[in-house]
């Protein structure tokens, strides 16, 4: 097989892996948008906050320690214990549920029925507030999150795909990061679980009902507030998963909240209300930007990954504004 085909394939595979992360963040957006019409700008910061909280709990960091020390003149930083990853994850989930409740109780409950742009502004405020709280609570240094996910290239895959080169001496088999592979599996399980939840449970049914029509949902006895807390909790959980994967890969740092921006073009492609759209959109952007960089990057001066997704989204906006899976918008006259 020729080099370009083999390396092209590897680029596609790596793109798919990167896309999984975009898809995860986009998924969080879609969940909240569907159920409440809120475009949650804070989804990326939620991933950051979740990952920082998880790290803090694992290593026994004292929350708000800088603040406490500044006020009381103490020098506490750590509790002096370490907590196993699985336990810390459970505690973090509880924190995210509490966060969901607070957000609903103190912000969005008071904004029901407001214009989408107002809800959006509220989430921008929330994003910066949460970022500040995260900083104050856990400190701003980069944290190496290690919940025990395997890292580094998968030799097994490399060895077992070498034959595909058919004697090509430049090809040693596909190089795929184990962490990416695990992330893919986790994302797949998460999506299947979400779909099963929304199809087969009482709360899932209620969630779909609320996403479809608020009035009708009320009339069959659904507590909208409860469902919205639930949806924010689920989005918080999805954010945690994204935060764990991203944090394991590149460390937990504030630039994590910027991945939220990459989710925007993903949503343009996938549509704001489609879960399969978020997945497929994420994968397309992931593969697209890697392939584009591979094929045309050198000719265009490189770093095309910074803008490719946005330009692709722009093209989509012009030719298919409803996204890949959205229903065609026909204006009533």
């Amino acid at each position: 097989m020729p080099d370009s085909l083999l390396f092209g394939t590897e680029v596609v595979l790596n793109g798919l892996m990167a896309g999984v992360l975009y898809a995860l963040v986009a998924l969080g957006f879609v969940l909240i948008y569907k159920a409440s019409g809120i475009f949650n700008y804070a989804q990326g910061v939620m991933a950051l906050f979740a990952a920082m909280t998880l790290y803090g709990i694992m290593v026994g960091q004292v929350p708000f320690s800088h603040l406490i020390n500044a006020i009381f003149g103490t020098h506490i930083h750590h509790f002096g214990w370490e907590i196993p990853a699985i336990l810390a994850i459970i505690v973090t989930v509880v924190v995210m549920v509490a966060f969901a409740w607070l957000v609903q109780q103190y912000i969005f409950r008071h904004l029901v029925g407001q214009e989408p742009i107002i809800l959006f502004m509220a989430t921008i405020g929330l994003a910066y507030f949460l970022e500040g709280v995260a900083d104050l609570m856990w400190g701003s240094e980069i944290k190496a999150l290690d919940v025990g996910l395997p890292q580094g290239g998968s030799f097994w895959i490399e060895e077992n795909t070498q034959w595909l080169g058919m004697g090509n001496e430049n090809f040693y088999g596909f190089f795929l990061d184990q962490l990416d592979l695990i992330a893919t599996v986790i994302a797949a399980v998460l999506v299947i679980a979400l779909v099963a939840f929304s199809q087969y449970t009482k709360q899932g049914r209620a969630m779909r009902a609320v996403a479809d029509d608020h009035q009708a949902a009320l009339s069959v006895g659904i507590n909208l507030n409860f469902i919205w807390v639930l949806v924010w909790s689920v989005a918080g959980f999805v954010a945690l998963v994204a935060g764990i994967v991203w944090g394991s890969k590149s460390g937990v740092q504030f630039s994590l909240s910027l991945i939220a921006l990459k989710a925007l073009p993903v949503l343009m492609l996938g549509g704001f209300t489609s879960i399969p759209g978020a997945i497929v959109g994420g994968l397309i952007i992931g593969v697209g930007e890697k392939l584009f960089e591979f094929a045309l990057g050198p000719a265009l001066g490189g770093a095309t990954e910074n803008w490719f997704a946005y330009v692709l989204a722009l093209v989509f906006l012009v030719f298919r504004p409803q996204g890949l899976f959205g229903e065609k918008i026909i204006e009533r006259v």
């Binding site: 009902a209 069959v220 006895g221 659904i222």
Partner: protein, 272 residues
């Protein structure tokens, strides 16, 4: 009137029981608009109670007060003889009051079956973790709910569209699906806001028959808003007449028809 044990017998020999729902001196304002002005009336067990009146009279507003969608500034609501505290619509629904809307509110993205199934949400007791861990119980519950839903689907003769996405249905069938969803909740009191609006004669006849059958077979108490006088006279046991937010008549169809205030309100007032 206030004696809950007191009842009456209709012309066609049905026994009507005590007061299920009593509205006392209800006033509802939207800014300067007074949608309901100091209205009192009751709904009795097993009866079909109509609310009529010209456009903008405040009929829908009244139904919305009963179902908790609107909160009146003044007045009290008694349900089964007990004063009802201010309640959110979902809490009212959980008390056994189901409704349909004047401008159909269905889950457009779901099939007919799924729509009707949402009417059973409050009968799904098994919690999330039980559902995940203890499949047997959840399955049994699901089967029971399915059976109840299928019964209603048969009853309203919509078997042929069970799997059809609601968005694709014609208007008349949508109204029927909405009724099916309300019935799936096995309500004590059923509120119908213009169940026959926009229907052709044949569809209206079907719907009238269904409403009578629901009342007859399930013993459901029904309050309905309707513009078509013929239909109202045929269906209802007692009628409340509203005009500009005020109650101008209350009684049997015959009594109401010969009431001068009602005749005046309807003369020269456009309604469909």
């Amino acid at each position: 009137m206030l004696d809950a044990s007191e009842g009456y017998t209709t012309e066609d020999g049905r026994k009507i029981g005590g007061v299920v729902m009593e509205m006392k001196n209800i006033t509802l304002r939207f800014g300067g608009v007074v949608a309901i002005k100091d209205i009192s009336f009751d709904i009795r067990e097993g009866e079909i109670r109509a609310i009529i009146g010209p456009n903008g009279a405040g009929k829908s507003s009244m139904l919305n007060v009963i179902s908790g969608f609107y909160v009146p500034q003044e007045g009290e609501v008694f349900f089964h003889g007990k004063k009802r505290p201010q309640m959110r619509p979902y809490e009212v629904a959980r008390q056994g009051i189901a409704r349909t809307f004047q401008n159909i509110a269905l889950f457009e993205g779901m099939s007919v079956l799924d729509n009707v199934m949402t009417g059973r949400l409050n009968y799904m007791k098994t919690g999330l973790f039980q559902q995940a861990l203890w499949k047997g119980k959840a399955e049994q519950e699901e089967t029971e709910n399915r059976e109840a839903v299928e019964k209603i689907i048969d009853f309203l003769e919509i078997q042929h569209i069970r799997k059809t996405p609601v968005a694709r249905l014609p208007y008349g069938l949508k109204k029927r699906v909405e009724l099916a969803r309300a019935l799936a909740a096995e309500p004590k009191l059923l509120l119908l806001d213009e169940p026959m609006a926009g229907m052709n004669v044949e569809e209206k006849e079907d719907m009238s028959r269904f409403i009578l059958d629901v009342n007859d077979e399930f013993g459901t108490t029904i309050a309905l808003i309707e513009h078509d006088m013929g239909v109202v006279m045929d269906l209802s046991d007692r009628v409340v007449v509203m005009d500009y937010g005020k109650k101008i008549g209350d009684g049997t169809p015959d009594e109401v028809r010969s009431n001068q205030a009602v005749i005046d309100a309807y003369l020269g007032v456009s309604h469909d």
